[in-house]
Symmetry: C2
Subunit: 272 residues, 2 copies
């Protein structure tokens, strides 16, 4: 009897709403996304990103997840205990850890495109969720404060992207952007754009030439088609990573991460 007393039933319409967040359409309508599992929620806590609500199944969770829900409770986040069946219904994971958070999708549409952004990673035609998430993770690791995602790429709030960021999605500004807006605002604001491009100069020497710089954009394109021609046209510098010709190209997340690391290593980025 006690088991039933502490969990509450989700209505069919609540379950339907939560499940709709696995689709882009649903997320766009609700302006919400789901982050599942202990690790992602611990990172949200670390980066001080408060969920709108946390759902957990008391009979699925470990002591570590219990501690997590207690921390959110202290921050006055509404916590909802539900049945294991309900959590599995709304979970995207193969095996649910019994806990997930509902987060607002930040809306920056009233802010200028480059408002407060200094070091920007631009994703152009990155369709693989694992690659997008990995790039966001590396961006946080190497001191970038913003990821701009062109509409030709995977939605950054896709559950697989969120998982691949390992929580780094809570560590920087993520903004969906239009190609034309980037091109215009780049010109207006005179922000340098650095393109990862196999036709560019050698990365190590190219970065050395950058010198003191207030802000910049690094653009990473897809493995198959490379960067959009419009982006390539406005690039101030193109960088290539030396490798043997035995492979045509590196994985996009690897290439982007190698360039971001080199920029971090050469101290182009001023870390607070």
């Amino acid at each position: 009897m006690e088991k039933q007393a502490i969990t509450s039933r989700l209505t069919q319409s609540e379950i339907k709403k939560l499940k709709s967040l696995h689709t882009k359409k649903g997320r766009n309508r609700e302006k919400l996304f789901i982050a599942e599992g202990i690790r992602l929620l611990e990172e949200a806590l670390k980066f001080e990103r408060k969920p709108q609500k946390v759902y957990f199944a008391p009979f699925l969770i470990t002591p570590r997840a219990k501690k997590l829900t207690d921390s959110f409770r202290k921050l006055s986040v509404p916590i909802r205990a539900v049945t294991a069946k309900a959590i599995n219904q709304i979970s995207d994971a193969e095996t649910s850890q019994g806990v997930l958070g509902l987060f607002d999708i930040p809306d920056y549409s009233d802010k200028r495109l480059f408002d407060k952004s200094r070091y920007i990673l631009l994703l152009d035609n990155i369709s693989d969720p694992g690659n997008a998430g990995t790039l966001i993770r590396s961006a946080v690791a190497f001191g970038f404060d913003t990821v701009m995602v062109l509409f030709n790429s995977v939605d950054p709030y896709n559950p697989k992207v969120v998982r691949s960021t390992a929580g780094a999605i809570f560590g920087l500004k993520v903004r969906l952007v239009d190609l034309a807006d980037i091109i215009n605002e780049k010109k207006n604001m005179k922000i340098p754009l650095i393109a990862a491009d196999s036709g560019g100069s050698k990365m190590e020497t190219g970065i050395k030439k950058i010198g003191p710089i207030k802000n910049f954009i690094i653009a990473i394109g897809s493995e198959r088609t490379g960067l959009s021609s419009e982006i390539r046209k406005v690039a101030d510098l193109s960088l290539k990573i030396d490798h043997l010709e035995a492979v045509e190209s590196l994985n996009a997340a690897v290439a982007g991460s190698i360039i971001m690391r080199e920029i971090y290593y050469q101290k182009i980025i001023k870390v607070k």
Copy 2:
């Protein structure tokens, strides 16, 4: 009528056998794996790896795939034209390009563990197929000749791994290995082992100290648990990649690729 004349029917037992290659058990029994799609097969051709057989659906393929089958035909590879339905049945891809190759899984069990291998990437507990494939791709890009995969990792002939290598799996020796064998043979042969480990020395300076070296092993562990303690114990050098503490770790494929690139960049590897 003509349509039927040029394709032949696969029997149920043929389809069953081919489909079984999507599982590890099936691959182990048949000693075969499947590589699907134009890009992978073009790479096989480039690396001179002859498939045992090629299957294609004449009414699905593009001129580029047609050219590919012609090239294999010239090499006396048996080519089998089958129906679109049959190719879709044996395909693992979401949308089949209508062509796939059946390849032997190379067996090195009669060879010494480090036979002819000079630059070895060792995968320890790498369970994500995308990460394993990406690491193999980077290994070929940066001059490694062998990937050794511990049994605790994903099977390198898993279709998702093969796809993530973008064909690089045909560009080096891939060998499944036992942890105890690695430890023993490393001692016998006195091969240095370099571990990617967040507790190690800074990568850039650590690699500088390596100097001229005939052969070595780079070991990459999982993001969650790191390297096996047995591997860490026998490491001659541990390397870490500097990054902000905002993230706990980098993605395993990114970390491994960054270290391999640095080794390549610092010319520790003698490329032919």
